[in-house]
Symmetry: C2
Subunit: 377 residues, 2 copies
């Protein structure tokens, strides 16, 4: 153990009380640690499995100070925590991952520039600060292209596709005056991601690359490992993840989404300085889950072994999908996870289901079988 290792019984503070914080809290509890959730929303799902919960705004310095006093280390479940909040807390207790990673991940320009600086390709991009800048960017990158807010985007929010010049005006209006980025449209054959972790001692553990399929801009299915990905590209994706962890002096879990192009290139699309929906399969599908890795890293502990137990498929349960719980409890090999959210709004992530395949069942057959269970067909 390094001197930074917090002993069991210590308290992990988690900013954000959604499903990601909830699953980190469960993982930390299994290791004998207490968790304290901090977030602005009432009735956070993570609070249902934590030793303590503070419901307060991220700008409430009195609440933040009390929270920092009550915990031994701090992590977060989403990258849009205000930088000032992290700065305030980091002066009091270790915050992992640190401010540098958060700053890079909060800004799409910084993120892509950083990836490029480390030798990783991205789609071509231009910063867009005003209408003239957008016109210049369209001229430089060509169409189609995607206009995104530089900050605070997730699950397709704050994005507009520009297919022809006729779309420019509406896309610009959709940014509502926020700083934006225009990204060249990249024809890709698959979207993959790598979830990687680094501990305080510098130990690195990288899960195998997975394939992600989206529906309405929300993750629908993850297949682990990514089928059809060549060993060379898989290794390349993991190497990029490794190098980014080192370059950021990162402590925690980092998720990196890539586009795989038809000509065999990997383009970094997004980085998330946290556990990631595309890593949920690791709960059953890997020796150590991404949530346990996040808890271990934040607590100053060595990382666990990331090897797979087989192949896995993970399906998100969005909105009314969660009504299928009864069928999913009976579905072959299905591990049901529901997040304790009271209201099943459309587009809301209510849970997920994972099946680990240790025989030669095709991933597509397993996915189809789970889809039938969800649909009741």
């Amino acid at each position: 153990m390094t001197a930074a290792a917090l002993p069991p019984g210590a308290t992990l503070g988690i900013l954000g009380g959604g499903q990601l914080g909830r699953m980190i809290a469960i993982a930390a509890a299994n290791l004998g640690y207490r968790c304290h959730i901090f977030g602005p929303e009432a009735d956070p799902p993570a609070g249902l499995v934590a030793a303590a919960t503070t419901i307060a705004a991220y700008e409430d310095e009195a609440a933040l100070a009390a929270f920092a006093d009550a915990v031994d280390a701090i992590t977060y479940e989403f990258e849009n925590v205000p930088a000032a909040t992290v700065e305030f807390l980091a002066a009091r207790k270790p915050v992992r991952p640190g401010a540098k990673a958060l700053a890079v991940a909060q800004d799409r320009i910084a993120e892509k520039t950083f990836a490029n600086d480390q030798g990783a390709e991205t789609a071509p991009f231009r910063a867009v600060d005003d209408r003239a800048g957008l016109d210049a960017a369209v001229k430089a990158l060509g169409l189609p292209a995607v206009l995104k807010t530089r900050r605070f985007g997730y699950d397709g929010k704050g994005q507009a596709i520009i297919r022809t010049v006729d779309d420019i005006e509406a896309a610009f209006a959709a940014m509502k005056g926020q700083p934006a980025i225009l990204e060249g449209f990249v024809p890709f054959t698959a979207e993959i991601s790598v979830v990687a972790s680094r501990g305080v001692a510098g130990d690195v553990a990288v899960f195998d690359p997975v394939e992600n399929r989206h529906s309405h801009h929300i993750l629908d299915v993850t297949i682990a490992p990514a089928p059809g990905l060549s060993p060379a590209l898989a290794l390349r994706a993991q190497t990029i993840a490794h190098d980014l962890l080192i370059a950021l002096d990162y402590v925690g879990v980092l998720a990196i989404e890539f586009f795989v192009t038809g000509d065999g290139r990997l383009l970094v699309n997004e980085m998330a300085p946290r556990v990631h929906n595309s890593g949920h399969w690791t709960i059953e599908g890997a020796e150590t889950s991404q949530f346990e890795q996040a808890a271990r890293a934040a607590l100053g502990l060595p990382l666990g072994c990331p090897i797979r137990r087989g192949r896995s498929v993970m399906l998100n349960l969005i909105g009314d999908d969660a009504r299928a719980w009864g069928r999913l409890l009976l579905a072959e090999g299905a591990h049901l996870h529901l997040y304790g959210k009271a209201e099943a709004r459309a587009g809301r992530k209510m849970g997920h289901v994972t099946r680990v395949l240790t025989d030669d069942t095709p991933a597509e057959a397993a996915i189809a079988s789970l889809r039938r269970a969800i649909a009741g067909a």
Copy 2:
């Protein structure tokens, strides 16, 4: 789903806030249910992962009534819940397992008589209500024999071995006037257990028999499946468990400990109407853990699949063993579980560690390796 199935979001009440209730609470949370812990002890480990906790005596009817109002179904983590408490609660909300199973498991005479009535062998035994009864029982069963309190014994507490007539007086005194049972001493070659579950719809799921090794009357090691147990005896043990579940009209998890004799007989030693230390390996080692089965049964849900993912070894961490957490986090294949108990008293179960073997590593080698990690040698 049967009509009895409670939907996600419902609340499971758990009597007892120790590690067993804690692990049931985590399993229920993973499925989207809330948990409410009830027990007399301050700072229950299970309360650290539950949505609500009530600290009150089992005789506090006002607290019990409020608890019953707040939950949708109730289970318990130990069999010494007062019968009156269960009766009071059962009039208000489903308590699973029910009063009948509890009554049988709370009394060693009732337990053994019930097992015999179902065609399962036990060690020979006699009820002992006074000193004259003890002398008669010794005469009938011969020596050596074991004198135990009829009720409230666990982990070797309330037991005295009588090797010669000179031990009789001290053994009788050790019972402190409580009703007792004298059990004939049975030479056995192994102790095994079966953890079995039954759902409200009558579905039964039985884990494979495991071998248990004790140290100072406390479980030390579990090996799953029990090595060297013949397929015929394994099936016989599972069949006995199945038949007892049916005979008790049982809903929940039932653990049955057996002695395996040199001449190939199985003797029922004890039954526990709850999740059991010898089933902890199922968290990583089986498709569905005993804790998830307990939650599913209590919530009226169908049981999950009990098949093994490989072979498993589980070592308890008793007292100061838990100080090895740093080494255990790094030990090959080790899954560390600590229970969040503040004080590591001698003989106290502080946690456990499980390793699942999917290659041909001998169980004994895996045990030795974990022991070295615990000892720091």
